[in-house]
Amino acid sequence: MWEFIARSLEASTIFTLAALGELLGQRSGILNVGIEGIMLFGATFGFIAAQNSDSYAVGFLVAIAIGALLGSLHGFFSITLGVDQVVSGMGIWILGFGLTTFIGNPYTGPLGMDRIPTVFGVSPFFILSVILVAVMWFVLSKTSLGLRIRSVGENPSVAEVSGINVARTRYMCVVVGGMLMGFAGAVYSLDYNPVWNYNFLMGWGFIALALVFFSLWNPWILLGGSLLFGFLWQLSLNPQLFLPGVFSRYIWRTVPFVITLLVLMVMSTKWFRAKWGSAKPEALGEPYVKG
């Protein structure tokens, strides 16, 4: 039982990190649906780098760097060129799926390094992810930088006349967001399940994407949601543990999406909007053209 909980926390760590990266980008107005692709890249290149250098540190650094690179690629398309953000993100996903399958194929198999030690029985990355949630919340809601990020995501033309560089702010958010996604991928391939196989993620990134909508763009709700989703995901791997015979794992995997859809339905009700306004950043997904 304890092992199941520890595994759930590890799973939720990956959701938290990736979704936190997505949340940062979305608060600045950039939707990145390529999250799964960036995670695949981070996981694969982190895995290869760690195996070749026999160093976890190198593996994680490479994963973060490739995340930053892909984040800036998405930024280039969606901020500089102003193309449709969904199309750009989809491109990154397909690219990640194809390229990592091609490059990673010779590395199929276990990592073959000592496991990363746990702290009080849980992964150190879980603790790190909680700290990052707190940092993200503090930065977004209590700092000047956070106010700038939020205003860019709500109404970029207002931000511009208030003296904020919209493009730079958005770039910063998608690049840091990409780093978190790449890192999340490496946590999967180096810690959670250190075995390389083609397309091993199978939807983790999309769950993280749904999680951001579930969270109403609030880091603390995001943390709660990722604990819930981590538990459900782990359950989907071993449904017989609690509910033997009820659905297959493939059905269980849709549960986070069903929950997210329910949350989105509540959000779109008149009652919710009258009480809370629209939680969604107003300019989310819209390219900003100056002038």
Partner: protein
């Protein structure tokens, strides 16, 4: 402090000067050798119709646009603005007509956004104290912790003013400052503006209509026409007539004839109608009224008091929560829009670009949108474009629409000309009921007069006209019945001869008697 005292008071040093500002766009000189000067403590209005060059001048003043020729001096120093930031740094603040605020953020967050001294970690409490101090000094009242989307238009304007002041503005540009305000709100704003002028701020209101505001508040007024400075007055020597004459270039009658037409049977009957807004609050509350043949029923109110929702319910675009609507005795409460058009309802929506027309469509196609369901213009699923083109061309002549031909895209027409097309499209059908929602908003004096006369013509032709307007003077000028609307309710229904500015103004601000408005 009264106007006479202010005008007589010695003004401060020259704080802003423009010399020979010229800005050209392909085919048009938007600003032609404009000279302008402001002193500290002065309220200097800039008056002009649409297209007179006000917007361009405003953008140049705030650094959004750069002039082709000419110089700007601030406190005697020649300056160049590359962006609004340069202007802000030199103490120029701008209050935009289409508010530049983040809806999801609080008032305080909006005010401190982008402020260089905001600090890395926000000190909201300190900021609130400083903003409170500004509010006290100039007599603003606002909840600093409310989200902007919860505020009224007037309150949003206050936030914009506070934002500029918080940034240290000494020169304040106000773009159409009173266009969205009810008379009592206008009064409050003007007293705050005067307090700011007393505090040595220089204030430049840009105004299209609302000449009385200019006369009652400003010290000097500069009139623009065709991109040039046509006249400059000390306000004490100006009159409404003289300002309008300079602005339009001809005598303007401030009277639209209101012919008495014999009223006939009821056309529109609304009984205890209620409806929700898109945000989910009750926007229209138990509204009951009747509009008869040959009369104009005017609904007066500040934006956001339910007029818009009421118009949408009557046009079949929004579902009512309760109540009954009949047109010529037949119930249409739940009828779809098309059935209403066929029953003789003509609808002129408030947003002529977004709802009234499709910008990418030609005028012919836009006219077809209102005729495709007529046997005369469409048969067996085929639209008879030749016939509709003929109709459109007739409309262009009859309504004096300035356009090269009927195939021009709607987005290329000026606001006034587009409104004429929309008006023609509705009125040419000979409707029983015309619902005109803000039909003259943003139009200049000439086009406004034209639209108002057409509505009166419709009434003469025995149509019932429901006019919704935020311009109280317009309502008073052409309506036979006046219903001030406040927070979804009619505060009364007054016959035209019992209505006056003070009474209706107080009612539309939610006050039960005029005394409360003082």
């Amino acid at each position: 402090m009264t106007k006479e005292l202010l005008a007589g008071r010695e003004r401060g040093a020259t704080i802003l000067e423009l010399r020979g500002i010229t800005k050209r766009f392909p085919g048009v000189v938007a600003n032609d050798q404009i000279d302008f000067e402001m002193r500290a403590g002065e309220i200097h209005a800039i008056l002009g119709e649409n297209g007179a060059g006000k917007t361009t001048l405003m953008k140049i003043l705030y650094g959004i646009m750069q002039p082709d020729e000419g110089d700007i001096y601030v406190r005697g120093q020649r300056v160049k603005f590359h962006s609004p930031l340069n202007a802000i740094e030199l103490g120029i603040g701008m209050v935009h007509q289409n508010r530049k605020l983040v809806n999801a953020h609080t008032v305080t967050e909006n005010i401190i956004l982008g402020h260089p001294n905001a600090g890395r970690v926000l000190n909201l409490r300190r900021a609130e104290q400083e903003i409170d101090e500004l509010c006290r000094r100039y007599g603003f009242k606002i909840d600093l912790r409310a989200a902007v989307w919860q505020l009224s238009e007037g309150e949003k304007q206050v936030v914009e003013i506070l934002k500029a002041l918080y940034r240290g503005a000494k020169i304040l540009i106000l773009d159409e400052p009173t266009s969205a305000l009810a008379p009592p709100e206008t009064k409050k704003l003007l007293s705050s503006v005067e307090a700011m002028a007393d505090d040595e701020l220089a204030i430049i209101p840009f105004i299209t209509h609302k000449l009385p505001i200019v006369l009652s508040t400003s010290h000097r007024v500069t009139v623009l026409r065709g991109g040039r400075v046509i006249a400059r007055f000390d306000t004490s020597s100006a009159t409404e007539q003289s300002l309008a004459r300079e602005m339009v270039g001809r005598e303007v009658l401030f009277r639209v004839e209101r012919p008495a037409v014999e009223t006939g049977k009821p056309v529109l009957q609304v009984d205890n109608l209620s409806a929700l807004s898109s945000r989910g609050f009750m926007a229209v509350k138990n509204v009951t009224f009747t509009v008869r043949e040959g009369e104009i029923f005017g609904i007066a109110g500040v934006s956001g008091n339910g007029q818009h929702e009421l118009a949408e319910v009557l046009a079949g675009l929004r579902k009512p929560e309760a109540g009954k609507v009949t047109l010529d005795g037949a119930e249409i409460t739940d009828a779809p829009p098309l059935a209403r058009w066929q029953a003789g309802l003509g609808y002129i929506p408030s947003e002529r670009n977004a709802v009234g027309s499709i910008g990418e469509f030609s005028l012919v196609e836009n006219v077809a949108m209102n005729y495709y369901f007529d046997d005369k213009y469409a048969r067996n699923g085929l639209v008879d474009y030749a016939n509709i083109r003929k109709l459109t061309e007739e409309m262009i002549v009859d309504y004096d629409v300035a356009t090269p031909n009927a195939d021009v895209k709607a987005k290329n027409l000026s606001g006034g000309n587009l409104q004429k097309v929309i008006l023609a499209r509705v009125l040419t059908r000979g409707p029983r009921l015309v619902i005109a929602n803000l039909p003259t908003q943003g139009l200049d004096v000439g086009a406004t007069e034209f639209v108002q006369n057409k509505l009166i013509e419709a009434k003469k032709n025995k149509a019932a006209v429901l006019l919704i307007s935020e311009d109280l003077d317009e309502i008073l000028a052409i309506s036979d019945w006046i219903a001030p609307m406040y927070e979804g309710e009619f505060m009364g229904i007054l016959p035209a001869d019992e209505a006056n500015r003070e009474r209706v103004g107080a009612l539309m601000a939610g006050l039960k008697s005029e005394r409360e408005a003082q």
